[in-house]
Subunit: 263 residues, 2 copies
């Protein structure tokens, strides 16, 4: 499946917060044989959210995961932006409202919060775009959202990493695992010859093995790391293929008077 | 100035590499009073690069900083994508060629690389879109690129953080510093009351102080961090204003029976 990620939060654009959510999700999406095609980061701005969502939907990814902006404050406007983009109303979802009420009730009983009951800000989180299914937030208060638009399955997750991860594992991972493809990645590091010198051999091998994506990464100190990647149904054959090409690459490196450095 | 960042690299989309370049740049752009409006991450794909660049140019940011995909291998295709988007030819830039030749000559003399002289892959890095000014890469071989399209100043920097940072400092930072605005950010952490409880007070204060952006961030364990930000010409007054609002916020927290936690 083709997946796009949309990260929403001013704190990322001003450099206060390093976005680690997209890397965490990308690893898991890739591992299960799917492709992250694009990661877009924008601020908590209604027009930016709605226009960006429209552009993403034009590209028709199978899955869009939005993270951030689900909280109770006025500048958490992800769902308002989603509703605007889709021309749908925000509607009070009773299931979402109950889960929010329960989460605050628990926090009150545990003495974590001193204000009991619902407030307009707390209730705001239960207003979901028409057609949404609320997703349980076992680590916080704001429920997530699942809704389908055309062929695109949209998920809205919280931006707080702990809450996002729990919701991803519960609500998205089972769907990703349905595909039997697996992503295999192996590589090795060499020194003494540059990326430019190995480049023609990489080009030749990529033609010979169109199933593989071979990528060289320059490392500090002019040593070069060569990384081979493959996505395949049959894991055993995939591993064999990658191992075969790695041996060929190592031979080429040695023939060019390069040195191998084991991981 | 409005700034967009475009990060190019399959290794980020598959989750192998955590992009830290955009956070590093965003911090510095914000510090000097400018605004990062959007960060887009895409793969090393010619069509994605050119179509994304066109979309960005339609939004007419003052500055677009592209990072990644300048190296010697076939899958480093940022400049090809830029040329395609702008309908410009890639032309051999003699200044760029000389700097590449010199970098490889130095690596050869120091015994770091064993292949002397230019190869097609090395020369590839000297082909720049028509109208480009090459930027010195003091930490690597691939030169950067500066070119203006409409009102947008485009910079193409390497993806290797060490090389990107050196080029950013030399070629972009002086331009950012020309503006006398400064970004001030202060905040404090409180516990015992939730984000939803402080939200109406934040809304009220934002109306009272339209120059400020007040943001609450939930932290682990249900304590809440309140962060205030301001962008202003006059740093001294800006600090005063932020301090004044921080005192008001602290008073509100205490009145609501919350507890303050000093940094």
């Amino acid at each position: 499946m083709n997946v796009e990620l949309l990260i929403i939060g001013n704190e990322i654009l001003i450099g206060k917060t390093q976005d680690t959510n997209s890397n965490w999700m990308a690893k898991r999406i890739t591992k299960h044989g799917h492709h992250v095609r694009r990661i877009t980061t924008i601020g908590d701005d209604l027009d930016d959210i709605s226009s960006t969502l429209r552009s993403i939907l034009e590209r028709q990814p199978d899955v869009l995961i939005i993270s951030g902006g689900l909280g109770p404050t006025f500048d958490d406007m992800t769902l308002k932006g989603v509703a605007k983009a889709l021309n749908r109303k925000l509607i009070l979802n009773l299931e979402a409202r109950r889960s929010i009420e329960k989460a605050y009730e628990n926090a009150y009983k545990q003495g974590i919060l001193k204000l009991q009951g619902m407030t307009p800000e707390r209730e705001k989180m239960a207003y979901l775009p028409r057609g949404s299914i609320p997703l349980k937030n076992i680590r916080g208060t704001a429920p997530g959202v699942k809704l389908k638009v055309g062929k695109t399955q949209i998920f809205c997750l919280p931006g707080v990493p702990m809450e996002m991860k729990a919701m991803f594992k519960n609500s998205i991972l089972p769907m990703l695992k349905e595909k039997k493809e697996q992503f295999i990645q192996k590589g090795f590091i060499f020194m003494g010859i540059g990326e430019s010198q190995i480049a023609p051999h990489v080009t030749r091998l990529e033609k010979e093995y169109p199933q593989l994506w071979i990528k060289t990464h320059p490392k500090v100190g002019l040593s070069i790391e060569v990384e081979l990647s493959i996505t395949c149904f049959n894991v055993e054959n995939g591993e064999q293929l990658v191992d075969e090409v790695i041996e060929k690459m190592k031979k080429i490196v040695l023939e060019l008077n390069g040195k191998l450095k084991e991981y």
